[in-house]
């Protein structure tokens, strides 16, 4: 399958990328690693008329210790997140989850910023950074702004980014020794999760993100509220789908997804250290 025709322009800087996307209007899309966008274009599920290639913006590929959080450049590849020693120490849940995206070949190309901007509820990193309370930095023609992960995901493949904004950085609070777990239930190693759970827990405080449990990645706040109120992991996990709106598809019915979410949240909470 070959994508439909499009024009291709290459940006040399974030500023140039923003100006190019502004010039070409709504039918233009940023191309980062291309591992979400190109498959959609081959299937004609996306048909941008212009691609603005930001794949060479290497200055947006970095992982920096920024005190209470880690700042990750949007163009940082999954493989670099997965193998970062600093992330292994400060944000082991994120490094581990990055190692479960696709397969090694995909992780050599796909980027954390591309995955988040694509806003696929079935992807691992949107729900994981949501669970970790991340803030995303967007740059547009009028400067930069911060968007909380909890405000970012607005609908299926739809984010709070404006058409002329580019995601430049992901800021993730350090886990400071919190217990964590990443549960990904799928039928083949490289597949998207049928249901996934990213969770951390420390002294009653927690964050639980759900993968593929609705049209957006889900923050299971009812689970965290139950844990904070003293509920056991098993009882808190009963609240797993309170914020979710699971849909049925070829892999799972709504009932099966609901069941899986409760089971996986319970396993995740226990592995993360909740009693």
């Amino acid at each position: 399958m070959i994508p439909a025709k499009f024009d291709y322009v290459r940006a040399g800087s974030a500023e140039e990328a923003i100006s190019l996307i502004g010039e070409h209007g709504d039918e233009a899309k940023f191309l980062a690693g291309g591992h979400s966008l190109l498959p959609l274009m081959k299937l004609r599920l996306a048909q941008p008329t212009v691609l603005v290639d930001i794949g060479r913006l290497t200055d947006l590929s970095y992982i920096r210790d920024a005190g209470d959080h880690v700042a990750i450049g949007a163009m940082t590849r999954h493989m670099d997140v997965e193998t970062s020693e600093m992330l292994a120490a400060e944000l082991p849940l994120l490094a581990h989850a990055a190692g479960h995206v696709g397969d090694p070949q995909v992780r050599h190309r796909g980027t954390i910023g591309g995955s988040i901007a694509h806003a696929d509820p079935a992807s691992d990193l949107p729900a994981t950074t949501l669970a970790l309370g991340a803030t995303y930095i967007a740059q547009g023609p009028n400067g930069t702004r911060e968007i909380a992960a909890a405000d970012f995901y607005q609908g299926f493949l739809t984010s709070a980014l404006e058409a002329d904004e580019i995601l430049t950085e992901i800021r993730v609070p350090k886990m400071a020794g919190a217990g964590w777990s990443f549960q990904k239930f799928n039928r083949r190693a490289q597949d998207w999760a049928i249901v996934g759970v990213a969770a951390w827990y420390r002294d009653g405080a927690s964050g639980v993100g759900l993968v593929n449990m609705g049209s957006v990645p889900v923050l299971a706040t009812s689970v965290s509220a139950a844990l904070a109120g003293g509920a056991s992991a098993a009882d808190a996990a009963e609240q797993a789908v309170a914020e979710a709106e699971p849909q049925g598809d070829l892999n799972a019915s709504v009932e099966y997804r609901t069941h899986l979410a409760k089971v996986l949240v319970k396993r995740a909470l226990i592995e993360a250290g909740a009693a």
């Binding site: 994508p3 499009f6 024009d7 291309g34 290639d53 794949g55 070949q105 490289q190």
Partner: protein
């Protein structure tokens, strides 16, 4: 758009359509057909090649994205005198192929894996090859081949 790509040490400069896939460029423009197209949806790994030293799925990379890159395909693995790459030799000695369709992609993924992890465990080999499917289901000998190559 004009691109310039080094494939197995030889530089090729061509005018390509932006929508041309890298695998199409390698097979149809450069004329190297060892890189196979399997699923065409970045699932099966048959089209794996090395882009700047790392395995990627060339059905999900545009040729224009590879402009300036150094590419190695299965044709570039053996030495000039025909001596097989140790991974190719290991696949031959361990019967790591049946129909052979997935083999170029398996060899490219496996060599990329050993570059990142020179002494993998069997489990690490299996995980490292998660992006490559063998429809003959000959995984056992493929894993043995990679372990044998790592031990050389």
């Amino acid at each position: 758009m004009e691109i310039s790509v080094t494939v197995n040490g030889v530089t090729h400069t061509n005018d390509v359509e932006p929508r041309m896939l890298l695998v199409q460029y390698i097979r149809e423009t450069v004329g190297l057909t060892g890189t196979n197209v399997g699923c065409d949806t970045s699932s099966c790994g048959a089209c794996s090649l090395h882009l700047n030293g790392e395995a990627v799925k060339s059905c999900t990379v545009l040729a224009v994205q590879a402009d300036g890159a150094d590419i190695t395909t299965i044709e570039g693995m053996a030495a000039a005198d025909g001596t097989l790459h140790p991974m190719q030799q290991a696949f031959m000695e361990n019967h790591g192929l049946q129909c052979g369709y997935c083999t170029p992609g398996m060899v490219m993924a496996a060599t990329s894996l050993l570059k990142e992890n020179p002494s993998p465990t069997e489990r690490e080999v299996r995980l490292g090859l998660e992006g490559n499917l063998c429809r003959c289901t000959g995984y056992h000998n493929i894993v043995q081949s990679v372990l044998a190559a790592a031990a050389k």
